[in-house]
């Protein structure tokens, strides 16, 4: 979509005005600074999703739109988790982070902050594996997506 102020609120406003559900939304400028790329995760029946696509396409700021779930695609989300890291938990968190291929990016005497990137389900699984650990804070980016293969969303 056009990298213009107000473009994001048009999308967000459309969803609230028509009662659609936003599960996650990420947006940032692309290599072309006049364009932003947004990945939005929503849910609904086939009819509702069709209507969402049509309504989004009507927004003047939306340049091009694709339903990534229509073909093979890659989804990635980043999560930062700040956890209690004292006693036995300190080693356990390190082990779990390694298993999930996360990185510990900040350390204090009592906490670790783990960075983990992957499909949303993997992030969910990591959080579940921390069930015996005290979690202080979780921040997730929301999913970003891109088509597999040579298919591109270009102008």
């Amino acid at each position: 979509m056009e990298n213009e102020s107000g473009a994001l609120s048009r999308v967000a406003g459309l969803f609230s005005a028509r009662g659609y559900n936003i599960e996650s939304l990420t947006v940032a400028p692309t290599d072309d600074s006049s364009l932003s790329r947004m990945t939005l995760v929503t849910s609904g029946t086939e009819d509702i999703v069709e209507q969402i696509l049509k309504q989004l396409n009507k927004l003047v700021d939306v340049v091009k739109l694709v339903d990534l779930t229509e073909s093979a695609h890659i989804e990635r989300e980043m999560m930062l988790v700040k956890v209690e890291a004292t006693g036995e938990a300190r080693a356990e968190v390190k082990r779990l982070a390694d298993i999930f291929r996360g990185n510990i990016i900040d350390v204090t005497d009592t906490t670790y902050t783990v960075e983990l990137t992957g499909p949303g389900e993997r992030l969910d699984a990591f959080l579940q594996s921390l069930s015996s650990i005290s979690i202080h804070e979780v921040v997730r980016s929301g999913a970003m997506g891109i088509s597999r293969g040579e298919k591109t969303l270009g102008l």
């Binding site: 107000g6 048009r10 009819d47 069709e50 209507q51 309504q55 003047v60 700021d61 939306v62 340049v63």
Partner: protein, 565 residues
């Protein structure tokens, strides 16, 4: 040569051929008003409330097809315009609204007369722009008019901070504009058109159902050709009246909640439904589960989001109605399939049986004035050639039922948003656009009071509008629903404290006439339309307060479950 932002704005309006700018001054737009003062090409119409500016521009746009233009100040100027912008949005009316804004350095500071006009109008515009740099002003105006009037039309707001109108820059108006993110479809898909034609020609009980889109898209002559080539029955929505001549034998009347029996029964029993420029509104379909149970549906619309929004269709065609109807017409000629004339004849016989119910008959012997009779008389007196605006409620439905529109753009009403107060200011825009034509505002005593201050505007510009105030002392449609569904508990719908409308009209300098008996109606109408031809006449017609709008599809019912009387 350099121009100020204010001069650039006025220059852009000239370039777009704007004849009338409807507006009201204020602090944030003083530079623009000064620029307007120094020229004569764009005529400014000073309304008495900003809501009326948008409705007047709306009436101008609906009756001409050209975008309406509005100028209001920041804060309350913009918020007062909101109802009119939403009205235009719901009925897809092209309009450009310039709202003043506080200077850029004060935006977000809770400055005097500041409001987030872009945020407030976002859900009720086709698009809006905030112009922060004078260098973008001319191009933004070009985009605004282009977006407003192309594709599915709609209102566009351009918010202009005061400092931008005071700065100077070189002016050049772009001849053309292209926007990578906005490319409305024009031609329909040929494969779909061929499929549609085969389905249309295979019909045994067809129905053509058309909406406001045919009028907005200027496709009326193509619709007439299409319908008459096929000989199929045609029904119009409230917004679509006039797209097909109402006096033609193929026309079965309006459909929907207060549509005719023959139109609604025809819809319910049809086997092929051809929907053109219509959006299957809830007032049209009734209960969706019972809607057109046996029909295969072809749906033509310029807006893909209108297709399959509420009703699943078999052959969707996205494109401009003119393009698609032209393609359908030539494809019908080219097709080897033929209409099943035997089946069609039987279908017409069935429709004539429904027609014989005469669902719009009313008591003509009453000693009270029947609102239907008043409208019928206006129809006869104006020979069906008037521009008719209306407000919202019972009188609106009666006008739609009893004034037979043979031409498009003659029936001007707020169908989507249902805005009371629309009729009089809309009539001002219509009268300015068509100075030698008769313009009638059919209204009620409740609606008219919502924008009554515009009687002053009408006096200022000498607009000889005929106001037919069907005065039953109630918010009639509210009263009707309370009678049917709330056991006659007329909660707050009684309008028994009213001004003396005759004296009120006279106080503004107009002619006021009160009519209380059926036998006085002819003479009063004759005075209004002939004796006082050049004056605004306020006809306060005291009508039967118990009269209801029939027939009616009750909420939740199917179109075949109409209540006749």
């Amino acid at each position: 040569m350099e121009l100020t932002g204010a001069e650039i704005l006025v220059q852009c309006l000239k370039e777009e051929g704007v004849e009338y700018l409807f507006g009201y001054p204020g602090g944030a737009v003083l530079h623009i008003y000064d620029a307007l003062y120094k020229q004569d090409d764009v005529k400014h119409i000073l309304v008495r409330h900003e809501q009326a500016a948008t409705h007047a521009a709306d009436g101008y746009a609906r009756s001409t097809g050209k975008p309406g233009a509005v100028l209001v100040t920041s804060g309350p100027g913009a918020t007062n315009a909101v109802t009119g912008i939403a009205t235009a949005y719901m009925d897809s009316v092209p309009m450009v609204v310039i709202t003043g804004q506080v200077p850029t350095h004060l935006i977000g500071n809770d400055a005097f007369q500041e409001c987030d006009s872009i945020g407030i109008t976002r859900p009720i515009v086709k698009h809006n722009f905030l112009v922060k740099d004078i260098k973008d002003l001319a191009e933004t105006m070009k985009k605004a008019f282009y977006v407003a009037s192309s594709g599915r039309p709609g209102p566009v707001v351009v918010d202009v901070p005061k400092d931008v109108t005071g700065q100077s820059a070189k002016f050049s108006y772009p001849k053309e504009i292209s926007m990578r993110s906005y490319n409305p479809v024009s031609k329909g898909h040929m494969g779909q058109i061929k499929k549609a034609v085969e389905l249309i020609l295979s019909a045994k009980q067809p129905m053509i159902y058309t909406g406001g889109g045919v009028i907005l898209g200027e496709g009326c002559s193509q619709l007439v050709e299409f319908s008459q080539k096929l000989g199929y029955p045609v029904t119009n929505t409230l917004m679509g009246l006039g797209a097909y001549p109402a006096t033609d034998k193929q026309f079965v009347g309006m459909l929907g909640m207060h549509g005719t029996y023959e139109a609604n029964m025809g819809m319910h029993h049809c086997d092929v439904l051809i929907a053109i420029g219509a959006r299957f509104d809830d007032r049209v379909t009734g209960n969706l589960e019972k809607f057109c149970p046996d029909a295969k549906i072809v749906h033509v619309d310029v807006d893909p989001a209108s297709i399959a929004k509420t009703v699943k269709v078999d052959v969707p065609i996205v494109g401009e109605v003119v393009e698609v109807l032209d393609a359908l017409n030539s494809q019908i000629d080219a097709s080897e399939s033929k209409i099943d004339n035997g089946a069609l004849e039987k279908w017409w016989q069935q429709i004539d049986v429904w027609r014989a119910q005469d669902c719009l008959k009313f008591d003509t012997e009453s000693d009270k004035i029947k609102p239907q009779a008043a409208i019928q008389k206006v129809y006869e007196l104006t020979e069906g050639d008037a521009y008719v605006t209306s407000d919202v409620g019972q009188h609106q439905m009666w006008a739609a039922q009893y004034y037979k529109f043979d031409l498009p753009r003659r029936w001007i009403n707020s169908g989507g948003l249902g805005t009371m107060g629309f009729g009089l200011p809309a009539a001002m825009g219509v009268q300015l656009a068509h100075q030698d034509k008769t313009v009638v505002c059919i209204t009620g005593e409740s609606s008219i009071q919502m924008c009554i201050q515009e009687l002053a505007t009408c006096m200022q510009y000498g607009l000889p509008i005929k106001i037919l105030n069907l005065n039953n002392g109630f918010m009639g449609m509210v009263r009707q629903w309370q009678e049917f569904f709330y056991d006659k508990r007329y909660s707050q719908s009684v309008m028994n404290v009213m001004p003396d409308f005759v004296a009120l009209a006279e106080s503004y300098g107009h002619v006021g006439i009160r009519v209380e008996k059926p036998e006085d109606l002819d003479a009063a109408l004759d005075d209004a339309f002939n004796k006082y031809k050049e004056r605004l006449v306020f006809l306060d017609v005291i009508t039967d307060p118990d009269e209801n709008v029939y027939p009616m599809v009750p909420a939740g019912a199917g179109l075949n479950e109409m209540v006749l009387v």
